[in-house]
C-alpha cells in the first residue's frame, strides 16, 4: 500500500463539473410502490466495467458523465480510478486510454474532456465514494433531491470523499476491452403493449416502420422522440398505471416518450410498447439527434437475449477481475 493509504478524508475535488455528472449505481430497485423510480446508471454494462477495472462490485456507485466530463483533482491521498466509455481522458494533461485502471497521486488532475461516441461514460474509484444510501442506493435523483452528493449533479468546488483511500493499487494497469453498447447498430427491440390496442393497426405499423429522432428533450427521465404523429384512437388519457424503464408512452401530440431511469413510476398515457432488458444499456447511450427504429420481438426471445447477454458479460467480468 502507498504511504497515504491510511489518510482520512481523501477526496476528489471538482474543479469543473462537466455538463451533467451524477453519482449512479445499480439503482433503487423495488421501490416503485412508494413512487420512487430506480434511477441508477443508464448504461449498467459500462458502470459494471468501470467498477471491475478498479476491483469494485458491479453496482458500486460511480460518476455518470454526460457528453462533457469533469476535471477532478486528487486531494489528501492516492487512489486507483478507471473510466469506461468512449471518452477522451487526460491524466495531468497527458492523454490516457479509457478502459484502463490508473493510479492517481495526491495533486494529480484527471479530466474527462468529452464523450466521443454515445452519450455517457463512467468513472469509478477503487472502494467507491462516500455517500449516504437512501432506500438502499446512492443513485442521484436530482428531481427529488435524493442520493448522490447532496441530491444533485456535481458542482465546482465539491469534495467527493473516497470510501477507501489508497485502494485498488493491485488493479492498476488492468485493461478491459473497448466495450461500447453504442457500436451495436440495430433497431431497439420492444414487446408491443400493454396498451398497443389503443392504436389503430396503421398507427402500430407506422411505429415500427418509422425512423425516430431523439429530440433535445432527452434526459435521465425520458427521451422524447420526433417522427410521424401516432395519435391514439382511444384518446390519450388512460387511468394511470405502472411505467417501467423503456415503457414507450404516446401523449396527445402523438410523439412517443421512452421512459428512462429517473421516470415517473406511473403514467397516464397509453403505452404502445416496452423496450426489452437487453437493449436498455444501448438505449442509455443514445443522445439528442440520434435516430432509431423499433423492432417487435416476443417475450421468450427477449428473455433468451437477456440471459445470454448477462451470462456472457458476467463471464467476461470474471475473467477481467479473476
Amino acid at each position: 500500500m502507498s504511504e497515504t493509504a491510511m489518510t482520512a478524508g481523501a477526496s476528489l475535488q471538482v474543479d469543473a463539473p462537466g455538463m451533467m455528472t451524477t453519482l449512479q449505481d445499480g439503482g433503487r430497485q423495488g421501490q416503485g410502490h412508494l413512487g420512487v423510480p430506480p434511477s441508477g446508471a443508464l448504461d449498467t454494462m459500462s458502470l459494471a466495467l468501470a467498477n471491475a477495472l478498479v476491483g469494485n462490485a458491479p453496482d458500486t456507485g460511480a460518476l455518470e458523465i454526460t457528453l462533457l466530463g469533469p476535471t477532478l483533482v486528487m486531494k489528501g491521498g492516492d487512489c486507483a480510478v478507471a473510466v469506461a466509455g468512449d471518452a477522451e481522458v487526460l491524466h495531468n494533461d497527458c492523454r490516457v486510454a479509457p478502459f484502463c485502471s490508473l493510479w492517481l497521486r495526491e495533486g494529480d488532475v484527471l479530466t474527462v474532456r468529452r464523450v466521443a461516441s454515445g452519450a455517457r461514460a463512467y468513472l469509478a474509484v477503487a472502494g467507491g465514494f462516500v455517500a449516504a444510501p437512501f432506500l438502499g442506493s446512492v443513485a442521484t435523483l436530482a428531481r427529488a433531491g435524493i442520493g448522490g452528493f447532496a441530491g444533485r449533479p456535481l458542482a465546482a468546488g465539491d469534495q467527493l470523499g473516497l470510501a477507501t483511500p489508497g485502494g485498488g493499487e493491485a488493479s492498476v494497469g488492468r485493461r478491459g476491452e473497448q466495450h461500447l453498447p453504442q457500436r451495436e447498430k440495430r433497431a431497439i427491440r420492444v414487446v408491443p403493449g400493454p396498451q398497443a390496442g389503443h392504436f389503430s393497426r396503421a398507427k402500430q405499423a407506422r411505429f415500427f416502420s418509422a425512423e425516430w429522432t431523439i429530440s433535445t428533450l432527452a434526459d435521465r427521465m425520458g427521451y422524447r422522440l420526433t417522427g410521424p404523429a401516432l395519435a391514439s384512437a382511444g384518446g390519450h388519457n388512460i387511468v394511470s398505471d405502472a411505467l417501467l424503464t423503456g415503457s414507450v408512452q404516446v401523449p396527445g401530440d402523438g410523439q412517443p416518450i421512452i421512459a428512462m431511469n429517473d421516470r415517473g413510476t406511473t403514467g397516464g398515457y397509453p403505452k404502445i410498447a416496452t423496450v426489452i432488458r437487453a437493449d436498455l444499456a444501448r438505449l442509455g447511450q443514445m443522445k439528442p439527434g440520434d435516430r432509431l427504429r423499433f423492432e417487435a420481438v416476443d417475450v421468450a426471445h427477449a428473455e433468451t437475449l437477456w440471459r445470454g447477454r448477462q451470462e456472457a458479460f458476467q463471464a467476461y467480468l470474471d475473467r477481467l477481475t479473476g
Binding site: 415517473g264 413510476t265 406511473t266
Partner: protein, 256 residues
Amino acid sequence: MTLNASIGDVAQNTPPGPDTPAFTIVPLADQGVLVDCGETIDVETNRWIDAAARAVTAAQLSGVTGIVPTYRSLAVEYDSRAMTQAELIATLETLLGGLKVTQRRYRRFHIPVVYGGEFGVDFNDLCRHHALTSEELIALHTAPEYRVFMIGFMPGFAYLGGLNDRLHTSRRETPRTWTPAGSVSIGGQQTAVSSVEAPSGWHLLGRTPLRTFDAGREPPILIEAGDSICFEAIDGDGFHALQAERDWLPRWEWRT
C-alpha cells in the same frame, strides 16, 4: 418470431371469483407483467389491487424484484434469470385467482390548499372550461373525502379517486416540463397532490404547503395508498405561515 396476438393487448382472461374482479395479465416486455383490471377507477377494484399487492409481497417469490400497485393494475417486475414470465404468470393466476379482500384501517389527512392565482395557474381556465365560479369550483373540489388510490409517478405523489364528474378535464396535449412541488391538479377523472418539482400534463388548481415526500423525515413518504384526504381552502398568507413553520404536518385521524 411470431406477432400473432402480440400486437394488441394480449391477455390471459381469468374468471372473477367472489372478491376477485376480472383481470388480465399482459407482458411489460421481459421486465414485468401487468395484472390489469381495466380502465376503471372504483374503490372495490382498488381494494383488490391493494390486497393483491400485499399477497405478492407476502409470497416472497424468487425472481420478483418489485411491484407497482395503481388504481386498477398491479405491475410485477421480475428477472428472467430466476423465473420465466410464463412461470410468473402461472404463479400469479394461482395466487390471485381466489384472493380474499379484508377491511383494514387507514388514515384521513386534512390538507390545506391555496386555490388559483400564482398557486394554481390553470384555475381560471378550469372555471371557464366548466362554466363555474371560483367559489363553485373550490366547493366541488373540497367536498369529497378522496381515497388515495395510489402513490406513483414521483416519490410520495398521491393520486386520488372520487373527483366530482363535473371537474373531469382531459390532460394537456403537451405536458409542461416543470410544475412546483405541492401542486394540487386535475388530469382526466383524477386529482392529485404532487410531492416534488416535476413535469406534468395535468391542470394546476392550487398548491399545498405540505411535502408528501421529504427524504430527511421519518418516514420520508407520509401518505400511503389506501389512506384518504380532505382538502381545506386557505389563502396565500396561511400558505406562507404553514410553510415557515418547522416540522409542520397536517392533522389526521384513523378511520375504518
